[in-house]
């Protein structure tokens, strides 16, 4: 995962000196730019550091091998729902909640229990019924 790691770490290492240069050019009187640039560096370094950490704990991936073959990537990728209806009611309920913030609290109050039902339905979809594990 060297390419991904380097991409983010180099970006992070770029933004921090750029933020410092920006600070000096504005004589540190402009409070926004240098802060935003530093934190952009932080954002990139955060992802880069995590990728470096992950790379240490896993085997070299087929993607990292210039002579890798597609089939070497076969295997378990994670746990995925074959299909699920729950995101739709959750999305509608969330829309209701946020529209409630703008339009009126009555809509918000209707949305919150709907969102709770949809969220719990989604989180526990594979903990009950046919696919319970």
């Amino acid at each position: 995962m060297k390419v991904e790691t380097r991409l983010f770490v180099y970006l992070g290492l770029l933004y921090i000196p750029v933020g410092t240069v920006y600070g000096f050019m504005t004589k540190w009187n402009e409070p926004l730019g240098f802060l935003a640039l530093y934190l952009t560096g932080g954002m990139s370094l955060m992802i880069g550091a995590y990728l470096a950490y992950t790379a240490k704990h896993i085997d070299a991936r087929p993607e990292d091998d210039p002579l890798g073959e597609i089939h070497q990537g076969a295997g378990e990728y994670g746990v995925f729902a074959p299909y699920s209806w729950w995101p739709m009611p959750l999305g509608l309920a969330a829309a209701c909640v946020f529209a409630g913030l703008a339009a009126g609290w009555w809509l918000f109050i209707i949305g919150v229990p709907l969102a709770a039902v949809a969220l719990i339905g989604w989180v526990f979809e594979y903990y009950r019924g046919e696919f319970a594990h």
Binding site: L39, M43, I58, H71, V79, F80, F124, H133
Partner: protein, 222 residues
């Protein structure tokens, strides 16, 4: 539960070759948290901009802050990250619940591995709930002293920054409840449960670090 099927007999690959890959949920969570960092960057930028424009409003209003109280609240939140990490260690050894008595994290027999993920996460939840309660108390106190969202530029940025952080903590508390409930619902506490426990801890640590930044800026730097 559907998983991408394991192709054991793909041509040319050794039998039982499962590539140990980065966990998609964990990498995705980190990328999302990086974008959350930029959300809080916007809030910090707002704070510093308005502070630069209204220095005397700051001098007048920061005196209202109760520093000892917020320091205690901060220490509580930082400690909750420690409890959370202990829960992660339990989840990583696929231990959902306490081996021995539930009321003590340490026993002679099991050492510090007595508590499972559930007990540590309940402790984290209690600490997080105390933090939010402390915030509510602090808000009530400040509002009674005349500092409100609309009283001044300082009031606006104070409640916006700490309030959005408080909403994040509340969201984390809801996530902890769901994770704890999952540890009861799962017949076998496996990788899927451990992964969701671990990404919740990433979120919790992130929100904790953001609070340290907010605390330094709002309560220490003023």
């Amino acid at each position: 539960m559907a998983t991408a099927s394991i192709v054991d007999n793909a041509p040319g690959s050794p039998i039982h070759a499962t590539v140990n890959r980065p966990n998609m949920v964990q990498v995705g969570t980190i990328v999302w948290l990086a974008s959350e960092l930029m959300f809080f960057a916007g809030l910090f930028a707002m704070y510093f901009t308005i502070r630069a424009v209204l220095p005397d409003v700051w001098a007048e209003n920061t005196e209202l802050l109760n520093i000892p109280f917020s320091t205690a609240n901060t220490i509580n939140l930082v400690l909750s990250s420690v409890w959370c990490q202990m829960g992660v260690f339990a989840a990583e050894r696929f231990q959902p619940a306490a081996k021995g008595p539930w009321w003590t994290p340490w026993t002679r027999e099991h050492g510090l591995k007595n508590w499972g993920m559930r007990e540590w996460y309940v402790l984290t939840y209690i600490a997080g709930a105390l933090f939010v309660a402390g915030q509510v108390y602090e808000y009530a106190k400040l509002i009674s002293e005349g500092l409100t969202l609309s009283s001044s530029g300082y009031g606006s940025v104070f409640y916006m920054t700490t309030g959005f952080h408080g909403l994040h903590v509340t969201g984390g508390l809801i996530a902890f409840l769901l994770i704890i409930a999952r540890s009861y619902m799962a017949r076998r506490f496996g990788h899927a449960e451990a992964t969701s426990a671990i990404v919740t801890s990433y979120y919790w640590h992130f929100v904790d670090v953001v609070w340290i930044g907010l605390f330094l800026v709002i309560y220490v730097l003023k």
